[in-house]
């Protein structure tokens, strides 16, 4: 585990990744490394708990777009919850919400992804 990825767990067949701190290129690569490793094991559903990530940059978010693209190839899904308002707004501007889902809470995310 790194300073940025503070927890990876599985629940109802979904991989839950918890982040902490700045989602930049380094943070984005850490998320993608976990997702691609899990996809190699057959996992296709991912949720990111971003409660600890109050700030992002477009390079880090672009790596999430790469993950979405790879998940489309295996009919997979990714979602996010506990987003700060500016992170949610950034995801909207960049269009991530057209291809992935923002949830309010972990319970909703796990039940509805």
């Amino acid at each position: 585990m790194s300073d940025f990825i503070t927890s990876v767990k599985e629940m109802n067949g979904i991989t839950l990744i918890e982040t902490n701190g700045y989602l930049n290129n380094v943070g984005g690569e850490e998320i993608s490394t976990i997702c691609y490793a899990k996809m190699g094991e057959g996992q296709t559903k991912f949720l990111i708990n971003m409660a600890g990530t109050k700030i992002v940059n477009s390079i880090g978010v672009s790596i999430l777009i790469e993950i979405i693209e790879k998940l489309q190839e295996v009919n997979g899904k990714i979602g996010y919850y506990n987003l700060a308002p500016i992170v949610s707004k950034t995801f909207n501007i960049m269009g991530l919400t057209k291809y992935s889902t923002v949830f309010e809470t972990e319970e909703l995310a796990v039940n509805e992804l």
Partner: protein, 137 residues
Amino acid sequence: MKKPTVELKLPIIPNMELIATQTAEVIARHMNLTEDQSGEISMALIEACINAFEHSKAENNVYIHFLIEENSLVIKVIDQGIGFDKTKVEIPKIENKIGHDERKRGWGLQLIQELMDSVEFESNNEGTTVTMKKNIK
């Protein structure tokens, strides 16, 4: 009376943009801006700094000037890089990026324009100044 200003000189080192956002947060609190406005300023500032750090090919420092005005906060991000032609920057669309070879990056200008109330670019082969304004509502 002269308007208060804050000036930063940032070396081109990874994550130095966070120094700019911390300064912006202090200024936003001083100006009684909302949390949403403060977040929007920080995000736009991050993107302007990254453009200056990465795309300008500037070798020296990046300068940031915060101008505290009565009804607005004006932020200038100044680099001494190679400049760019804004008319040649395409508006990114996620539909063109997912499932296509197009690179996934290239969102900086779009985010800055969406998050700030006005944005102006002055650029030539001696550098670029991005002037961003957030109005107090």
